[in-house]
């Protein structure tokens, strides 16, 4: 796969690993948060942890839009899907996300709700055209990456004058989440950020400037291939070593400073900021999510179906808030691997395979065991 395989090269990885070992100052610890689940996945999938020095620790951030979707929004979607006239279209990742009391879309589907997995927003449009007597609702989730496809779909629905189509909007924004982590009450222990890859293809690198400038945190935008990650880590180490805190762009082949202007324009024309939005594991964050503009109210499922806002408290035993701030690790949670597993996730970090806890469970667990054996 061109533009992917080259960045998975083992020989180059060995070189980069050597460079990281050489550059990392053994006298200090480097704690970098990779914001994105895509980065988390790359770390786990390719076993990057094995190639980093012990004093370079990666902290898995909240960067999976599925994981951060709170139980209340899942409950709302289930209630919507249970309406007899509604067919709810969802991305497959959402099916197992827990609502309150063990509920999930997968279970709601099993119990009779009409829920369809779609691959693309365009599939939802096709479904609405094919089923004029049903109300097709698209469960829109995702960061800045996934919002433009929703915008394209809304334009198509308008053009086709679909009266049986609407959107349950849950799009969220990455910079406010980074801000929330940095502004956390308990001081966080993060020396720099691996910045989003595909979010940045849309919004560019500029929105991260404040974190470097105002918070003094180095940020390196990085692709999702393992060499991208390693190069970004090396760049972060160099910034730390140099005492710099800048926004750098490792993922230059796909990310520019100002992003995809067409996509940004489309999104701005269709969506506007919500005052507040609840994030699983992070709590309520101001101006961190989007809703449809009043001009598109007729396509807004929350209005069409007068959906009541549901808020469900996170499980207090879940350590996600601390894990997402770099203060704890999955194994520090007493529910990890017992009550909380990928089959029965409790907190945001276990929900998708890219959550910190799920990634550790799925790919990394054996290292705890190895460490225990070693000690």
């Amino acid at each position: 796969m061109k533009y992917a395989d080259e960045y998975r090269d083992k020989e180059l990885a060995i070189g980069l690993a050597r460079a990281i070992h050489a550059k990392a100052d053994p006298a200090r610890a480097y704690r970098f948060m990779e914001f994105c689940g895509g980065h988390t996945h790359a770390i786990a999938r390719y076993g990057l942890e094995d190639m980093l020095p012990a004093n370079v620790r990666m902290i898995h951030g909240p960067g999976c839009p599925v994981c951060v979707l709170p139980a209340g929004r899942i409950d709302m979607a289930i209630a919507l899907a249970e309406r007899p006239e509604v067919t709810l279209c969802v991305y497959g990742d959402l099916m197992r996300v827990p609502g309150s009391r063990g509920a999930s879309l997968l279970k709601a589907k099993a119990r009779g709700a009409d829920i369809r997995m779609v691959y693309s927003t365009l599939d939802a449009i096709a479904l609405a055209e094919q089923n004029p007597s049903r109300q097709i609702v698209f469960f829109a989730i995702g960061f800045e990456t996934t919002t433009p496809p929703t915008a394209v779909m809304i334009r198509a629905a308008e053009k086709k004058r679909l009266s049986n189509f609407s959107v349950f909007c849950n799009h969220v924004l990455t910079p406010p989440a980074m801000r929330a982590i940095l502004d956390s009450e308990t001081p966080i222990e993060i020396d720099g950020f691996v910045g989003p890859a595909h979010v940045s293809t849309v919004i560019g690198t500029e929105p991260y400037a404040p974190f470097a400038r105002d918070d003094g945190k180095p940020v390196v935008i990085a692709g999702f291939e393992p060499l991208d990650m390693m190069q970004a880590i090396l760049m972060l180490i160099e910034q730390v070593n140099d005492g710099r805190h800048e926004v750098e762009n490792q993922y230059r082949r796909a990310v520019t400073g100002s992003g995809n202007q067409r996509a940004i324009r489309e999104v701005a024309e269709i969506f506007e900021l919500r005052d507040q939005f609840e994030w699983r594991g992070l709590g309520s964050i101001p101006a961190s999510a989007l809703k449809l503009r009043p001009e598109f109210a007729h396509l807004d499922a929350e209005q069409r179906f007068v959906m009541a806002e549901l808020v469900v408290a996170d499980n207090p035993a879940c350590e996600c808030p601390a894990i997402l701030r770099g203060l704890k690790k999955p194994v520090d949670c007493k529910l990890f691997g017992t009550a909380c597993t990928p089959e029965t996730p409790i907190g945001s970090c276990m929900v998708s395979s890219e959550g910190a806890c799920a990634a550790h469970w799925t790919y990394g667990r054996f290292r705890d065991h190895q460490r225990r054996l070693a000690s």
Binding site: G15, A19, C36, P65, S120, G142, T145, A197, V199, A254
Partner: protein, 78 residues
């Protein structure tokens, strides 16, 4: 997050659609979000939509840089 992969545009279709190819797999996708698209372009594909074009120059430079970074240490390291 945001599963997305590089794909080559092999055919342009009406209504801002295109066929892309990934190592012997081809799929119809939307290119509505891309300003100017041409056959042979590589795009980043996400949920059936092309998000951005890949810049082949930058890609090559990044790889060169990667090589240099590894090689540099290899030379200096004992």
């Amino acid at each position: 997050m945001c599963l997305a992969i590089p794909a080559e545009v092999i055919k342009l279709l009406p209504d801002d659609m295109a066929i892309v190819s990934i190592d012997g797999v081809s799929k119809e996708v939307s290119v509505a979000l891309i300003e100017e698209i041409a056959i042979g372009d590589y795009v980043i594909l996400h949920v059936g939509h092309a998000l951005t074009k890949i810049d082949p120059e930058e890609a090559r430079e990044t790889l060169d840089l990667l090589r240099q970074m590894g090689a540099a240490v290899a030379e200096v390291a004992p």
